[in-house]
């Protein structure tokens, strides 16, 4: 009989000592191993909705699609809209719709990667872009097995975002400050955003870009190519 509550059952305490994110972390490990074996650089793009992740991808594809093999996993709560934009650029894309969840997890990426391979039909893949669901909070908790996490903050969002969303900055290797052509129209302090971001993560690579004027796109492409050949 149970001493604690007198319920007539036996109670036992089992030591567990495991991460709350165990299932995701194990699948992320398997994804990364798989990407490594195939020589694929996996890049996880995270940002708020509307920062320009898909537009940056379109520009990146324009610049690189004849040089390297690119594939894209598009994360959204609903619709195929982004995958359709990417396919128009002549690159295979799989839309991952989470049906409500505010982030991708590594199990969904695993599934998406295999669907992408069917579209590739044996063609070589060098860089896999994973465009996460637009959200600056939750995606930063979930390792997808990527090699490179890139966070975008656009000028209209404001220079205070690194301090407000520190985990996104701390877990990323690069920060793209997008829509830089809009700086003259906003009270946006470029020095402050860089200083705050670097104080959170001193090794962060920061690139100002504008898909409109082309500013910074070469620097971004060179950064990617450098990572690919490392």
């Amino acid at each position: 009989m149970c001493d604690t509550c007198g319920c007539g059952h036996e109670h036992k305490v089992i030591d567990v000592n495991q991460s709350l994110l165990k299932a995701n972390d194990e699948a992320a490990y398997a994804n990364r191993k798989h990407f490594n074996e195939e020589g694929i650089l996996a890049v996880n793009l995270i940002s708020s909705p509307g920062s320009g992740k898909t537009t940056l991808l379109e520009k990146t594809i324009d610049a690189l699609k004849h040089e390297i093999g690119i594939g894209v996993l598009e994360g959204d709560i609903e619709t195929e809209l982004d995958a359709e934009r990417i396919r128009k650029k002549g690159v295979p894309a799989v839309q991952l719709t989470t049906g409500g969840a505010c982030h991708l997890d590594s199990m969904l990426v695993h599934k998406g990667f295999h669907l992408l391979k069917l579209q590739l039909k044996g063609k070589r893949l060098d860089v896999l872009f994973i465009e996460n669901v637009g959200n600056l909070v939750c995606p930063s908790f979930f390792d997808l097995g990527e090699h490179l996490r890139v966070v975008l903050i656009s000028v209209p969002e404001g220079h205070d975002k690194p301090l407000k969303y520190p985990k996104a900055i701390k877990t990323s290797q690069a920060l793209i400050i997008s829509k830089s052509d809009l700086v003259p129209h906003f009270d946006f302090d470029m020095e402050k955003i860089k200083k705050d971001a670097l104080s959170l993560n001193p090794r962060l690579k920061i690139i100002e870009t504008s898909a409109k004027t082309g500013e910074g796109l070469n620097e971004w492409i060179n950064f990617l190519i450098h990572r690919l050949h490392r």
């Binding site: 149970c2 036992k12 305490v13 089992i14 567990v16 000592n17 495991q18 991460s19 939750c138």
Partner: protein, 116 residues
């Protein structure tokens, strides 16, 4: 909102633990959540209490959460100190920013109490 996903993953693991230990029910789950884990304990408890109802093995389980303080050790003077400053802490003795985190990032299940 990631707390809902975390609660769902937790239920999945608890079902496995119950199965492996021939448990009729899980009655208590003890978690350790660090101050800097980014998990909001109230949100996680709310999410867990909502999603647990779908499974009779865990539907009566209570969560007990130990919140782990944020503790750093200074690389320059070796002072160990607790702080509430999550992102820009410095050593209270020598003001150094070269710090090593000792605790505060925990996000794990410590143990579970089962009924057999």
């Amino acid at each position: 909102m990631h707390e809902v996903s975390i609660a769902l993953g937790m239920i999945h693991e608890l079902e496995r633990i119950a199965r492996e230990n021939n448990a009729k029910k899980i009655t208590n789950v003890k978690l350790k959540i660090g101050k800097m884990s980014g998990i909001v304990v109230d949100s996680l408890t709310f999410a867990f209490d909502a999603v647990k109802l779908e499974n009779p093995v865990v539907s009566d389980a209570a969560l007990s959460v130990e919140e782990v303080p944020l503790v750093y050790e200074c690389n320059d003077c070796s002072k160990t100190f607790e702080t509430d400053n999550l992102y820009f802490p410095s050593c209270p003795v020598c003001a150094s920013y070269k710090l090593k985190i000792i605790s505060g990032e925990e996000q794990h299940i410590e143990n579970v109490e089962i009924e057999v």
